[in-house]
Amino acid sequence: MNTHNVGIELGHVEDIASMEAWDRFIDFASRHIEHEISDRSRAYKLRLAFEELVSNIIHAAAAGKTNPTQTELKVIALRFKDEHSTWLVLRTNDNGVHFDPEFLTRERIDTNEPVHDRKIGGLGLFLIRESVDRVAYEWLDGKNVYELWMKS
């Protein structure tokens, strides 16, 4: 992921990573998704991945792994263009604990496992990976940086 300084910033929102700020983060992303992604199904998938990601960040902040009042989350919406496509990128930047980038290394859930035997968990990470065109994670300057990429 070497794209931090390119692309057009469409806007950003910054707040404490807590459920009190949930609506701010979701409303911000939803507004940009609605504006940039015309296909309803793809817009839904990006919103889904974003909600799962923000939910993970907030839960990590509240789970005692770090002081929730000190975990700040910044969400940036960016538009990238290459010769073939235009992309909407939702980048999150938080100063919580260094995440193990599980969605890149964790075993995938077994979607064929009977529901009665299913462990509750893992669905969120699965949906992040499966819902967007590209997902990236980087530990940069003491912060977790995630990116969700979706072609417009």
Binding site: S41, S55, I58, P114, V115, H116
Partner: protein, 107 residues
């Protein structure tokens, strides 16, 4: 978006009418309301999603939880879910646990 939950107890089934989004913020209330049902003895649960625009993994977990507590022989119907919601349910393999119908008349 807020979630409205309306539960109707029928003779042989329970219907849960949902309106809004089922996300990280609203799913705990749905889970709480489902938990309050006598799921272990419930043979048929109908969750109406006609007016639900969005379901996240937290919402799916609430639905899975309900099905896990119901008898193995029970049926959990999802009524009128959107194409996008069906896609997520299919992708996660939860389709095996539910019956999707376009209206309650199909039950």
């Amino acid at each position: 978006m807020a979630l409205s939950i309306e539960i109707t107890q029928g003779e042989l089934h329970v219907t849960v009418l949902l309106t809004g989004d089922i996300d990280t913020k609203t799913a705990p209330e749905l889970l709480s309301r489902l938990t309050a049902l006598e799921l272990a003895a419930l043979q048929q649960l109908r969750i109406n999603l006609l007016d639900v625009g969005f379901v996240s993994s937290a919402g799916l977990r609430a639905i899975v939880f309900a099905k896990q507590k119901m008898p193995h022989t029970s049926r959990l119907y999802l009524v009128s879910p959107s194409t996008e919601i069906v896609d997520v349910i299919t992708k996660t393999g939860l389709i095996q646990a539910v019956v999707i119908v376009s209206s309650e008349d199909e039950i």
